[in-house]
Subunit: 361 residues, 2 copies
C-alpha cells in the first residue's frame, strides 16, 4: 500500500485518516446494513441516522442556538454568493461587503445582480495582505458580509466585525469554519464549502437564523429558497449523501479531539510554529500583516520566484505536496486545516531550515 | 465483513461492487499519489486525469458529438429544472412540457417562473400509468422537455418524442441515462442526477449543445450560466470531485460490460424476466401500461395494501431491500438500474413465486 504523504492543499484538503479508514468499510456496507453508504436511499433508516448524527454534531460542536437551522446544500460556497442576496437583498436595498480577498470580490459581483452593494472596506491596495481596521457601514444595510479567512492571501479576522443591532452578519467561513470557537448567535448566516475543514467537495454547510429563512421571496426557484431546504431537513431533493456522511465522521473526530476550543489551541500551536520560524528567518518572509495572520493558510515567499520554485520542487520531492502559493500571491502557501497533522509542519520546518542554510548568502 | 444484500432502491442505488472496491483503495491513496481521492486539489494533476477520464468516457460511451459539452454540476436534477428555463426561456416565450409524472410536474412549476408553459400532453388522468401517444406542441416552443423514465410510476419512453426541426429537445434522463443506446444529436440537452445509473448523489451530468450554452443571458448568477461551467471545464468552482471520480469508474465498468448496446440488452433481459412473471401471475399485477413499461423501475401491486406490506416485509427479511413502492402508486417497485445484478432479480422472482403459492386463493 502506498504511504500517505503530507498534503498542504488549500482544498479539497487532508482529512483525518481514521475517517477515511471508516469510510472504506462503509463504502461496501454501512454498518451491518449490507448496503454501501453511497447506495443507501436518502430516505432509508440507515441514512437518516447518518444525517441526524451529522446535523446533531454540527449543532453540538458549535453550540448552534435553537433558532438556527443547519442546512447541507449543493453548489459550494459559490452558490451561496448569489443565493444569499437572492433571498435577502432587494433592488432598493443595500448590502455591505468587507472586501478582503478574491472570494469577497466574487461574492460582491453576485450581490450586485440583486441590489446595491456598499464596499465597507477593501484591502486590495496592498494585495489583500491585511484586514482593514476601519469599516464604513451604510445607513441600514440588509446585511453585512465578510470572509472570515482569506484562503488565497493568508489573512484571517481575529474576531467578527461589529455590526449595529438588528443587522444580520453573514460570514463566508469556507476556510476556517470549526477551526476555533464561534459564537453563532452573533451571525445571521455562517456558510462554508465543506472541502477544507469539513469533508469532501460538493457540499456547503449553511447555518442560518430562522427569521432570515422566512424573509426570502417565494417567487424564486424552489431550490433557491432557504425555506425549501429548511422545511425538508435538507432533503427536498436528493442531498449529497456521501458528503453528509463524511461530515458526520469528521465532526465526531473533531469532538474526540476536544471540540472547537481544543482545536483552536492546536491550530494556534501548529500555525505558531510556522510563523515563529518565518519571523526569525533571513530567507523566508510571511506575506500577511502580522496581526491578521491566518491559522489555516500560511503564505510566505523568499522574494525570488526562482528560489520559491526550487523550494517547492524540493519539498514536493520530499513528500510535502501542494505548497505552491496561489498565483495572486506567488511563493508558498501551507494550508494546514484541522486535519493537517503537526508532524507535517515539523517536516516542513526542517526542510525550510535546511533550504535556508543551503541558500544562506 | 457484512454480506451485501440486494438493494432495489430507486436512488441513490446499487453500484458495481468492483467500483466500490477500487474506491476503497483510492480513498487512502489515489493511485500511488499518497493522497486520497477526497483530498486531492481539483487542480492537481492526479485529479485532472480523473476528470478527463470521466469526461472522455462519457463522450465515448454515448458517442457525444463534438458540438456538445459534458458538464458535471451540483444541485441534482432539481437544479436543472430551473436552470434550463433560466437560460433558455424568456417571459414572452413558451416551452412545451410532456407531463408524464411527478418529476415532469416539478419541472413545469420551475419553468413557469421564467416564461409560458404549454402542457403538450399529460397522463395524470390515469395516475401517470402510461405515456400519452398524442403530443400537442405549441407553434414555436423555445424547447420541448420530457422525462424519459418516470421513476415513480414505472413508465419509460420507448423512443424520444418527435419535435420540429430547430426546436431543442430537452430530456430529464435521471433514471435511465446510459441504460440503452442514445442518439445525443437528437437532443439539445440531456441531464440526469447521477444517483441512479451513474454514481453517488450530489452531482448532475448535463450534456448540452454549444449553441444553447451561448444562448443564455449573461445577467443571471455566474454559477447559473452554462457558459461558466463550459468555459471552465466544470471547474469554475470546486466541483464534486468524488462524484466525478466514481462516475469515471462506473463508466469504465459500463464500457467493460460492452457499452450501451450490451447494457440495453441486459436491461431488457433483467426487466423482461420480471414482466414475464407479472404477466402470468394471478396475484401480482404490473401498474404501467404494457407498451410503456420501464426497464429501470418495475412497479406492481397485489391490489391489497395489507398483502403488499406483508410481501415487502418478507422480502426485506430475506435480504431484498427497498421494494416498497412510492406512496403515489403504492405496492412494490423494483428499481433495477444498470448495476443491479440479475441474481437479485432471480431471488425476487423466487420469492414472488413462493408468496403467490402461499396466498393462492
Ligand atoms: C473563502 C472561500 N470562499 C469561497 C470559496 C469557493 O468555494 P466553492 O468552490 O465551494 O464554491 C473558496 C474556495 O476555495 C474559499 O476559499
Ligand atoms: C426522473 C427524475 N427526475 C428528477 C429527479 C430529482 O433528482 P435530484 O434529487 O437529483 O434533484 C429524480 C429523483 O429521483 C428523478 O427520478
Ligand atoms: Mg481569498
Ligand atoms: Mg523573515
Ligand atoms: Mg416519476
Ligand atoms: Mg398479473
Amino acid at each position: 500500500m502506498t504511504e500517505r504523504i503530507y498534503n498542504f492543499s488549500a482544498g479539497p484538503a487532508a482529512l483525518p485518516l481514521p475517517v477515511l479508514e471508516q469510510a472504506q468499510q462503509d463504502l461496501i456496507s454501512l454498518g451491518d446494513t449490507g448496503i454501501g453508504v453511497l447506495e443507501h436511499s436518502h430516505r432509508s433508516k440507515a441514512f437518516l441516522a447518518v444525517y441526524e448524527q451529522a446535523e446533531g454534531l454540527c449543532r453540538e460542536i458549535a453550540s448552534v442556538p435553537d433558532n438556527y437551522k443547519v442546512l447541507f446544500l449543493q453548489g459550494g460556497a459559490s452558490t451561496q454568493f448569489f443565493m444569499i442576496p437572492m433571498n435577502l437583498l432587494s433592488k432598493d436595498q443595500t448590502a455591505d461587503y468587507l472586501v478582503t480577498g478574491s472570494w469577497s470580490k466574487k461574492a460582491v459581483k453576485e450581490a450586485k445582480l440583486f441590489g446595491n452593494v456598499n464596499i465597507a472596506c477593501n484591502s486590495e491596495d496592498k494585495n489583500f495582505s491585511y484586514i482593514p481596521s476601519e469599516v464604513a457601514l451604510s445607513e441600514q444595510p440588509a446585511y453585512v458580509h465578510f470572509t472570515s479567512n482569506n484562503t488565497i492571501y493568508g489573512t484571517e479576522f481575529a474576531s467578527e466585525p461589529e455590526v449595529p443591532a438588528g443587522v444580520p452578519l453573514v460570514c463566508d467561513a469556507s476556510s476556517d469554519i470549526f477551526s476555533r470557537p464561534i459564537d453563532i448567535s452573533k451571525y445571521g448566516i455562517v456558510y462554508a464549502g465543506a472541502q477544507k475543514n469539513l469533508g469532501p467537495s460538493g457540499m456547503a454547510v449553511v447555518i442560518i437564523r430562522d427569521d432570515l429563512i422566512e424573509q426570502g421571496p417565494t417567487d424564486i426557484p424552489t431550490m433557491m429558497q432557504y425555506r425549501t431546504h429548511s422545511e425538508a431537513g435538507s432533503m427536498f431533493n436528493t442531498p449529497p449523501t456521501f458528503g453528509i456522511y463524511v461530515l458526520g465522521r469528521v465532526l465526531q473526530w473533531l469532538k474526540d479531539q476536544g471540540g472547537l476550543a481544543a482545536m483552536g489551541q492546536k491550530n494556534q500551536a501548529k500555525a505558531g510554529k510556522l510563523y515563529d520560524y518565518l519571523d526569525q528567518s533571513q530567507l523566508f518572509k510571511p506575506t500577511a500583516a502580522k496581526q491578521d495572520r491566518s491559522l489555516m493558510n500560511v503564505t510566505f515567499v523568499t522574494g525570488d520566484a526562482d528560489l520559491d520554485a526550487k523550494f517547492i520542487a524540493q519539498a514536493t520531492a520530499a513528500g510535502l505536496d501542494g505548497l505552491k502559493g496561489h498565483r495572486s500571491v506567488g511563493g508558498m502557501r501551507a494550508s494546514i486545516y484541522n486535519a493537517f497533522p503537526e508532524a507535517g509542519i515539523d517536516k516542513l520546518l526542517s526542510m525550510m531550515n535546511e533550504f535556508e542554510q543551503e541558500h544562506a548568502s
